[in-house]
Symmetry: D2
Subunit: 152 residues, 4 copies
């Protein structure tokens, strides 16, 4: 349905920093992957989750999630050079793939025009055995609330 | 004088990202220098300047500043481990050293407690000849307005 | 044909550094893209090219190549966690796509086992007009010499 | 005594990568700190140590060192712009400060000329309690063998 706006926790902003550029004068491509992961982190916090529920090593070992969410695949397309100081809007489109994996698409826009896009595919594993396991409940909640946006 | 608050453009915020940490579970030290430079950039924009006035290679060559502000010296002290998801407040304390150089101190606080500090010393050079030159007028304005805060 | 070995300039090595890991204890995924680009750079130098023939901004403006090789697309697959101190072997598989574009696949192995793979797709543009243009002659030579390896 | 050469594990090499530069066309300053830490890691391996003896999170928890070596202070001086493709020689000068801390100075040279210098000051802590503790035996050995070079 047209007119449906994405939920606020899926809309983020990012300024290109001088240190993100290279001698060609524009953003060095690999930084887009870092940005995409950081936008995802910010979205989780904005949704109400906290780091120690999600990321291993972020608590003082008490209540460490025990689950890691490593990246299995990532890709990105680059349609325009990005210069230091430019403000980008980032829209996240999360999608549950299975009971133990999900992907997050990030669409980067400058002045309404899409300039780059990435996709990161995470799986859920037991941080000790590294065997696949069900997604943490908090990630499930974020995925459900996020995709409701698109389907409604 | 007590009770003087720093100007708004000198007060910034930063969240520790998962990718900023290393296998010891806390922020990898070198990222503090990147954060400090980015806080300075953000301060300049917040003050009202734009990137193409300051950074070489950020304009489409028309009106390129012609001046670069390389780092001559940098140092940092680390007083506490920083974990992913933690929110830090950054206070910048800029100081003009000479007609062609200045330094910016960054104080990082978490819950009112100082956790790290850095200092970056920049010089102003002609981007082509790499000879020292007077600071760009816009940097001068930012320095004057910023130090007025401290002196008043 | 079996038994054909890749040319020496396509076989590189990389040690996982402590700063490449995150709090999950293994390499943060985005670094693989940085590594892949660096392996490509190293291959060009090992083949006999020098940076100022290839990368904008690397010469003192005299003889600047005038051509940039931005990334249009990149992707990677991750099959195994990588820990600090591990030595990886990187095999590059370059492929000319067109007269103005090429891709480089990087296969990362640890103890003969493939642990990750990436692909970077570059296009050749005039650094000023940003219009597509023929690949620089030196890149052409590297591509020809490199693919001869595979076809012979 | 003149004519004493530094031990081989203290002499390293580094090529400036394209992604290490920024839009000013030269190495972005913060990367020197990353390089310095990586040169130190390489020196330890070259001396004969392995990552899981030194860095937390690098083993499969069996035999994890239990000790972390966080950075307390770091500083650097930059005397010359560094361009992509340039080869630098790095000389490490380690120095034990106390039974629980040491520093490593890194001197970066290009064509015999010193272009930058850094210093990193580490302390030894129990990775769980974060209380200071004696340096790991393997770091002690490396420090002794390294400083013998200078004193003999």
């Amino acid at each position: 349905m047209s007119g449906i706006k994405p939920k606020t926790w899926l809309l983020l902003q990012r300024t290109v920093r001088f240190g993100d550029t290279d001698a060609a004068g524009v953003m060095h491509f690999a930084n887009l992957f870092r940005w995409s992961h950081e936008a995802w982190e910010e979205s989780l916090y904005s949704f109400g989750l906290s780091a120690h529920e999600i990321f291993p090593g972020c608590s003082d070992k008490v209540g460490d999630p025990g689950v890691a969410l490593p990246v299995l695949h990532a890709h990105a397309d680059f349609w325009s050079p990005l210069k230091a100081g430019e403000v980008l809007f980032v829209e996240l489109i999360p999608h549950r793939l299975d009971k133990d994996s999900f992907q997050v698409k990030s669409r980067f826009k400058r002045d309404q025009v899409e300039v780059a896009q990435s996709l990161i595919h995470h799986v859920s594993i037991n941080a000790k055995t590294r065997q696949r396991c069900a997604l943490p409940r908090c990630i499930d909640l974020w995925l459900e609330a996020s995709s409701a946006t698109i389907n409604s």
